[in-house]
Symmetry: C2
Subunit: 236 residues, 2 copies
Amino acid sequence: MLKYQQIANEIEKYIEEHALQQGDKLPVLETLMTHFEASKSTIIKSLDLLEKKGVVFQVRGSGIFVRRHKRKGYISLLSNQGFKKDLEDFNVTSEVIELEVRKPTEEAALNLNIEPGDDVYYVKRVRYINGQTLCLEESFYNKSIITYLNTEIVSESIFNYIRDALGLKVGFSDIYLQVDKLNGEEANYLGLPNRSPKLCVETIFHLTNGQPFDFSKITYNYQQSQFFIQANSHFL
Amino acid sequence: MLKYQQIANEIEKYIEEHALQQGDKLPVLETLMTHFEASKSTIIKSLDLLEKKGVVFQVRGSGIFVRRHKRKGYISLLSNQGFKKDLEDFNVTSEVIELEVRKPTEEAALNLNIEPGDDVYYVKRVRYINGQTLCLEESFYNKSIITYLNTEIVSESIFNYIRDALGLKVGFSDIYLQVDKLNGEEANYLGLPNRSPKLCVETIFHLTNGQPFDFSKITYNYQQSQFFIQANSHFL
């Protein structure tokens, strides 16, 4: 981890530990430079990162202010950190339904940019929150990138494994959402009446070099899940 | 608009007009500097902006590549530009149901950070896509910031008016999503059977100074709407 990332983490931790509220002002640049024994450009990089992450907002000529979402128990649609971070006050567990090497579906091959004859790891999991079903998850991993998975790994955080054990750098992702009604199989897994509302989230995860390595489809139990996104002004 | 923003717009337009695909490489920094008659730092700022917007991704030591979502007709959940940009191939219209100055609901006051006795502009619209209902939208504007609205303005893009006529700078927004079933009133407006699935999107829009000015609740017709988000690696 680079120095500006470490500093960003420390500032974020400080905000959390001191329960700072939206609009609370952070110390000025010079104070942060002294405190972290860092150059101006390093502190600016830290603050830019925190702004991108939705932790602070900067007002030109006025200062740096805390930005916090106020609602608990919402799942971030932008985070790749998995549910554990968003739902840390809750008990989230996984049940692995299937784990095998197979050929991709046509849809998976298209989204992973691979050939129909290439191998993928197929993982199907049900995730639970406080004993209730949270979602049904199907993932297709390009086996030439994610070369090995086992039940132990997929019972825990696959992304931690990808980063820490495989040493891969996870980059951007494309996320598609659609609301529909559960089919019979999904309803069974989620323990909901057939034809209940569902949110279906498809994500294509890429490495930092732009190569897609994971195509995942998550079907959420609408009674257990709510989501948030922090959007920045550069989307204007 | 600043020079780096103009250059970013031109690069984005070039990518669109030449239908460049995901993974296509852009010219190197030096070529862009010469072409746009701009300094290195200006081009870097342009490219950073395009990366934040999900238009390109940068691979260290390798170059700048095009990033494109491949699916047409999806609505961006991060854009404040309204539906017109995402759905430009479609005919999107608005019907204004209500427009009046009133006191905020408790929920609206909380999210706008105003007192129950303060005034808001309340706007209720149904939006249509190719003659089908797209969504039902209720918005509460802090009247001390958005000082004037009329039917003509709210029939078109309210955000264009806020930026161009009122000269306000729109900053970040907090977005909350939940899936549920339509109630009778919503079903009526959307022309769907009662208890159909719905996606409810609440957004709190802030000015660049952090002040919330619009609390909006949109209920989508699930048969007509699908969404995308482009997430960057800094959320890891």
